[in-house]
């Protein structure tokens, strides 16, 4: 044991695992268990958000017609969706998906599971704070569920919650209040998580795990945590001001006829919301970028192309992400100079994003590709993120925004990035780390079927939205065909809905696969390193890892992507070298290449 290792061992002694049911499965402080808790909570709400999406698609395909099966149960009467119900459906669809489904899966699950395992730590820096973070999150989910059972129903002001529509002027009723409170509470949960993640990465990296040897997944999650720590408090304060407006008669965001003595400023809400909201889209995509950077390299059996370039590009995106938010507000009547500045930064942020994508392609180029399910999902994510990124060029531009703003084109664009890329990135992670989490493998055949339904489904559904928006169909319309100039889009909307239903149905391949492998007796044990890759969670511990993760804290000697090195192959007969692996012969041939 080196002195550095001894120091880290002293800082993180091995504790005995908990024995009681409550301490082990419910109020656990084990980061691996908390990761699983976030996974279950997130996937459950992914189902809720998905069902809400299906209702929206039904409405656009067959407005005024009763929803089959679920309609009478959910809405009573004939079972058709009414305009007031409809606005709650699309509002809660957005909020549930962003804050209560994708965030817990991408950040809660992978942040908790992977940070300690990939950097070589025994747990997070603040295990108890980690537990509080999860149970705070559960409280916020309960608030969301409760909002559906209030008198006037749930929130209806859109996921962006624009004031004054989101004040009592537009949406009186307990539902909207509960949802705003839920966003505040989930923000508190995310902030706790963020502080924990940031500290853990800074303080608990194993000896030798320099910043430039961190797996890209950790870079993505860490940068996300920094954005969360900086901007979630802004959202929290905005939510608090809105709660004051709703319940205590203040007027921060109320203006116009309902305001007394001049009132406040509705645009203030948009500034507060979007200075959080734009970093939020990077919060949701950076972990996926990181996962992709690693998984593409792993399954191409080739080092990541220009690791440093990708890292610095991701850092640059993080820095710029807060300086572009005004492009959501081009139509509010902002000063032209301000608009031009925001447009410039928006165009600039495309440059590091392109570096990341080009590095993915050059990582795969000249590799030796293995088409396992995680790789299929990773490649699919590259595709959908490409579409999402390129369509962003249209919307970052003020001229084109004059026509495209608030159309379905915007909806298609952000679904390609935030829904398709983030969700497929999350599935990449789930398929890849499932063996580490549960010690068993997922079925490859079901996984591939799930991939094709998901990939084609997402592409066709959101492609249909882009087409509809290009023709001028606006978003959030209960009956889009009120407008005669888009009468011709009925067929397109119906087809898009059919694809959406198929996409939803295809998710059952995953549900079956997941339950079979978690609970079934026949799922094959995974072994410590089923994918034959390099990072610490695969090469320095078992699947699933013991409570204390590592019997001995590893000493890292090389970067995360040491593949197909001829020296390593000569010495070990394998095409990869673990991050902490000492090669026979002791001379460190991989060190030179490993500096990446």
């Amino acid at each position: 044991m080196t002195p550095a290792q001894a120091l880290m061992e002293e800082a993180q002694p091995i504790h005995p695992p908990p024995t009681s049911f409550w301490r082990k499965y419910v109020f656990s402080i084990d980061h691996k268990m908390i990761a699983k808790q976030f996974l279950w909570a997130g996937l459950l709400f992914l189902l809720v958000g998905g069902l809400l999406a299906m209702l929206i698609r039904w409405q656009w395909a067959f407005p005024y017609r009763p929803v089959p099966v679920l309609g009478k149960l959910l809405f009573g009467g004939t079972g058709a969706i009414g305009p007031a119900t409809y606005q709650q459906i699309f509002t809660t669809h957005g909020l549930v998906m962003i804050f209560f489904a994708v965030t817990p899966v991408l950040i809660g699950t992978f942040g908790n599971l992977l940070i300690p395992l990939m950097i070589g730590a025994r747990d997070m820096a603040f295990p108890r704070l980690n537990m509080y973070s999860f149970w705070t999150f559960v409280l916020s989910q309960l608030l969301v569920l409760a909002s559906f059972f209030t008198d006037l129903g749930s929130a209806g002001a859109g996921w962006t919650t624009y004031a004054p529509l989101s004040t009592n002027v537009g949406t009186p009723g307990m539902g909207q209040t509960l949802i705003v409170a839920a966003v505040f509470v989930t923000g508190a949960s995310s902030t706790m998580g963020a502080v924990n993640y940031i500290t853990t990465v800074i303080r608990l990296r194993a000896p030798g795990m320099t910043y430039m040897r961190l797996p890209l997944t950790i870079w993505g999650i860490w940068l996300t945590a920094i954005l969360n720590a900086l901007f979630i408090p802004v959202l929290g304060s905005a939510a608090l001001l809105l709660l004051l407006d709703r319940n205590f008669g203040t007027q921060f965001f109320v203006a116009g006829a309902s305001a007394v003595n001049g009132g406040g400023d509705p645009i203030l809400w948009q500034h507060l919301f979007w200075i959080f909201g734009h970093p939020e889209v990077y919060i949701m995509i950076l972990p996926a970028w990181g996962i992709l950077g690693d998984v593409l390299s792993f399954f191409a059996r080739k080092p990541h192309h220009w690791y440093r370039g990708t890292v610095w590009a991701m850092v640059l995106v993080t820095v710029l992400s807060a300086m572009v938010y005004g492009h959501h507000m081009f139509m509010t009547g902002m000063s032209p100079l301000l608009g031009e500045g925001f447009m410039l930064f928006t165009l600039l942020i495309s440059i590091p994003s392109m570096v990341v994508v080009v590095n993915w392609v050059l990582t795969v180029w000249q590799g030796s590709l293995r088409y396992d399910t995680p790789m299929l999902f990773a490649l699919g994510t590259v595709f959908v993120f490409g579409v999402g990124g390129l369509t962003g060029l249209f919307l970052g531009d003020i001229s084109m925004d004059l026509y495209l703003h608030d159309t379905m084109f915007v909806v298609g664009h952000f679904h390609f990035t935030m829904a398709a890329a983030s969700v497929m990135g999350a599935f990449t992670g789930i398929y890849f780390w499932f063996p580490k989490m549960f010690g068993r493998r997922l079925d490859e055949r079901l996984g591939k079927a799930h991939f094709w339904f998901t990939f084609l489904g997402l592409t066709l559904v959101f492609g249909g939205q882009l087409l509809a928006g290009y023709a001028g169909q606006q978003r959030r319309l209960f009956d889009p065909f009120q407008y005669t100039f888009i009468q011709g889009l009925r067929g397109l909307n119906q087809w898009t809905s059919y694809f959406a239903f198929a996409l939803f149905a295809g998710q059952f391949f995953f549900v079956v696969n997941f339950f079979k492998s978690v609970f079934g007796r026949r799922a094959a044990p995974a072994g410590a390193n089923p994918w034959q890759v390099t990072t610490l969670e695969w090469t320095a511990t078992s699947s699933p890892p013991p409570f204390h993760n590592f019997d001995r804290i590893p000493e890292v000697v090389r970067g995360p992507h040491e593949f197909s090195n001829p020296e390593v192959r000569r010495l070990t007969g394998r095409d990869f070298a673990g991050q902490a692996e000492l090669l026979p012969g002791g001379g460190e041939p991989a060190m030179a290449a490993g500096k990446s």
Partner: protein, 271 residues
């Protein structure tokens, strides 16, 4: 039965032809452009479609070759990125940034300053039509200044969900909202602007083609947001004058000095 249906369809078609209303559009692609400056937006959109498609095809082709040819049988090359490959990456990104981002930025700056957000030059022209539009849940009220050229006077013409403008003259609209945020969207003119409570925002355009077009609310404003639809009618100048004098005469007759609510207009805001 069948004959009656054909007769009804023919009547509708005839009425439409007589009123000069456009037939429902096919739906796909950009809606018809009825404005003088809208072609600038369209050309940028077409440029961006071409540029992004090209980028997608180039990068996608490289990826596709790798996916097909560099499979399990192909030995992986051990490289963390060479000077040459990093050069290729940076060169590609730099080229795209200069060519595409640069083109978009310069063209948009020109478009916004000279046309879409150039309210000063519309303000200067003698033939400019000024309209105040007040949005509320869920309708558009429009106010024309009448012969005295001043808003909020007894000769103002006021309409609901019915805005008419002459062809070929600049139109300046000032927008307000009484309750929540709405957005005044004219898809056929490639302009939109939010109506924000407590503020006056502006919008300008110039119609090129006579006809009836839809005014859409683009910002979610409550359950009946989808019904917040108005009609913008572009008339030949003389028919516009006739129409305006009729509404002004009606408004004068209907004027009620006691009704303060009806005088929701504001003094025109100049730059």
């Amino acid at each position: 039965m069948r004959r009656r249906r054909i007769f009804a369809a023919a009547t509708v078609a005839l009425a439409r032809a007589a009123s000069g209303a456009p037939a429902p559009e096919s739906g796909f692609g950009l809606p018809r452009d009825a404005s003088v400056d809208g072609a600038r937006v369209d050309s940028l959109i077409h440029f961006t479609i071409a540029a992004t498609t090209l980028m997608f095809v180039v990068v996608g082709a490289v990826l596709l070759v790798a996916l097909v040819r560099h499979r399990r049988g192909h030995p992986a090359v051990h490289s963390h990125g060479s000077k040459a490959s990093i050069g290729v990456a940076l060169g590609f990104v730099g080229l795209v940034a200069l060519a595409v981002d640069g083109y978009l930025f310069t063209h948009t700056i020109i478009d916004m300053r000279r046309f879409f957000w150039n309210f000063a030059s519309a303000e200067e022209r003698a033939d400019t039509v000024r309209i105040e539009v007040q949005a509320h849940q869920w309708a558009w009220q429009a106010r024309y200044p009448g012969p005295d050229g001043k808003f909020n006077t007894p000769d103002d013409a006021v309409t609901l969900n019915d805005v008419r403008v002459p062809v070929g003259a600049p139109v300046l609209i000032q927008l307000a909202s009484v309750d929540v945020i709405h957005s005044f969207n004219l898809p056929h003119f490639r302009v939109k602007r939010d109506a924000v409570p407590g503020e006056i925002t502006k919008l300008t355009f110039q119609a090129r083609e006579v006809g009836e077009y839809e005014i859409a609310c683009a910002q979610h404003c409550g359950p009946n947001h989808y019904k917040m639809r108005g009609v913008l009618t572009v008339l030949p100048p003389e028919r516009y004058r006739d129409w305006l004098s009729t509404v002004v005469a009606d408004a004068r007759r209907a004027y009620d000095p006691e009704d303060a609510e009806a005088r929701w207009g504001w003094e025109w805001r100049r730059e």
